[in-house]
């Protein structure tokens, strides 16, 4: 079957890409758009390394067809920072709190955290852990990740809210 032209809105930028229908969003982001921050850890939806936001909700981009993302708003890890030194509060907190070791799960972790905070700006520790339950990490034991998200939430919360 021939390729079809699809339109992706990734981190606010419009891309027109010709894709075969069997290609996943993860593959197209990494290979066609060169947005390699999205990682593939298992390619079957179990590890969360490929997590991106689609229409504001976290999805496994390895289990999403690129065709299904046609005309949808996608946010990848490359879309969070305002500039090379102007990091998103979650990114900043991950660095400061030692939530990063090998870094392979990190982009997916941060996007799952963003999904969580977008829907629940003041999560409890338990809610943070639940929010990360689709993201596996083998280095950190999750503690510093949980800490970092808590700290970012506190920083992002409007005055008077949060912990």
């Amino acid at each position: 079957m021939a390729k079809e032209i699809i339109e992706l809105i990734v981190n606010g930028d419009r891309y027109e890409v010709a894709v075969e229908p069997w290609r996943t969003l993860a593959e197209v982001l990494r290979e066609d758009l060169n947005l390699t921050g999205t990682k593939i850890g298992c390619n079957q939806g179990d590890c969360g390394a490929c997590t991106v936001l689609m229409e504001g909700r976290s999805v496994s981009s390895c289990l999403t067809l690129a065709a299904e993302a046609h005309q949808r708003e996608i946010v990848t890890i490359e879309g969070l920072a305002q500039g090379p030194e102007d990091l998103h509060p979650l990114q900043e907190a991950f660095v400061e709190h030692g939530a990063v070791q090998c870094g392979y799960c990190t982009p997916g972790m941060i996007l799952s955290a963003k999904h969580l905070l977008d829907h629940n700006p003041t999560p409890s520790e338990q809610e943070i852990r639940q929010g990360l339950s689709g993201n596996l990490c083998r280095c950190t034991g999750y503690s510093k990740i949980v800490e970092a998200i808590g700290a970012a939430a506190a920083k992002m919360a409007p005055a008077g809210e949060g912990e």
């Binding site: 079957m1 069997w22 996943t24 939806g45 496994s60 065709a67 689709g134």
Partner: protein, 292 residues
């Protein structure tokens, strides 16, 4: 881990979807959330030459109540079901199951229709739906038909849905007053689990708030399909709700289970766990039934 090749169709209406499915009957698979289908395709467990995406079909992602009947749209995602107050009030077991399915990313995409049609023995939404007495509404070229969910499942991955048919709705009776639900799932992890055993229970009390008027207990991962435990329901009805009768129901449910040994667990352990989880699910249902 590449997907096999296929042609992609995105019909814009239910009729069109049925038409496309009919055209490629036998070679087409329906794509809803894809969290199960695409994994199977990557593992080469299936290789349909056509995928019919339902993303363009409107109206399949709503729930409603009408004249004693509750309808759940098959494209409702687990995430939406888990958070819906309507579902919590009218089909609470489904909300409980949806909330613990997979992971947040999976719940964003996974749909209740997909969960039912994939017919996995441990499916987190199918087992609750069975306890809710749900019926599958199938739409095909010759119109609609309804199938009780207990007759819908045939075997692992197999249902009575004909290749040209679509699951267009799930329906069930509105809950009687004094009804509560429970859902118990056993796995080694708190998330990212295919249950070793899962049990859903629905319990309705008489006006006295004690006597059990109706009960349904559904079991997952202990037979080729999600199954009902009629023996459990039998010992419950007419009895005063409480720990002892729930334990007895658990024993009956264990007798109704037909578990096998597999790499996720042994048959005898599963059977034991059916007894434990059934009693716990009934307790949970009872608490909720009283709370209403």
């Amino acid at each position: 881990m590449l997907l096999p090749r296929f042609e992609y169709h995105q019909p814009a209406s239910l009729d069109e979807a049925v038409e496309v499915l009919g055209q490629y009957a036998g070679e087409a698979a329906v794509l809803a959330g894809g969290t199960d289908l695409l994994v199977n395709m990557k593992h080469q467990a299936m290789a349909p030459s056509h995928l019919v995406s339902l993303a363009g079909v409107e109206g399949l992602d709503q729930a409603s109540a009408d004249g004693g009947r509750v309808t759940v749209g098959p494209l409702m995602s687990a995430a939406v079901l888990a958070q819906s107050e309507f579902i919590a009030a009218n089909a609470g077991a489904l909300a409980l199951g949806a909330a613990v399915l997979g992971s947040p990313q999976v719940r964003t995409r996974a749909t209740v229709g997909g969960n039912v049609c994939n017919a996995r023995p441990a499916a987190d939404m199918s087992v609750p739906l069975l306890a809710l007495g749900a019926r599958a509404v199938l739409t095909g070229p010759d119109g609609q038909r309804q199938v009780d969910l207990e007759e819908f499942f045939v075997g692992p991955g197999q249902t009575v849905r004909a290749p040209g048919e679509l699951l267009s709705a799930l329906e069930m009776d509105a809950p009687a007053p004094g009804t509560g639900w429970g859902y118990q799932k056993l796995g080694l992890r708190k998330a990212l689990e295919i249950s070793l055993v899962n049990v859903a229970a629905a319990l309705s009390l008489e006006d006295d708030g004690k006597t059990i008027k109706a009960a349904r207990v559904a079991l997952g991962a202990v037979a080729p399909t999600p199954i009902l435990a009629p023996g459990a329901a039998e010992v419950l009805v007419g009895q005063a709700a409480g720990g002892d009768v729930f334990k007895a129901a658990g024993q009956k449910a264990a007798a109704d289970a037909k578990p096998i040994d597999d790499h996720r667990g042994s048959a005898w352990y599963r059977r034991e766990m059916v007894a434990v989880l059934t009693a716990r699910a009934l307790n949970q249902a009872w608490a909720r039934a009283q709370g209403q």
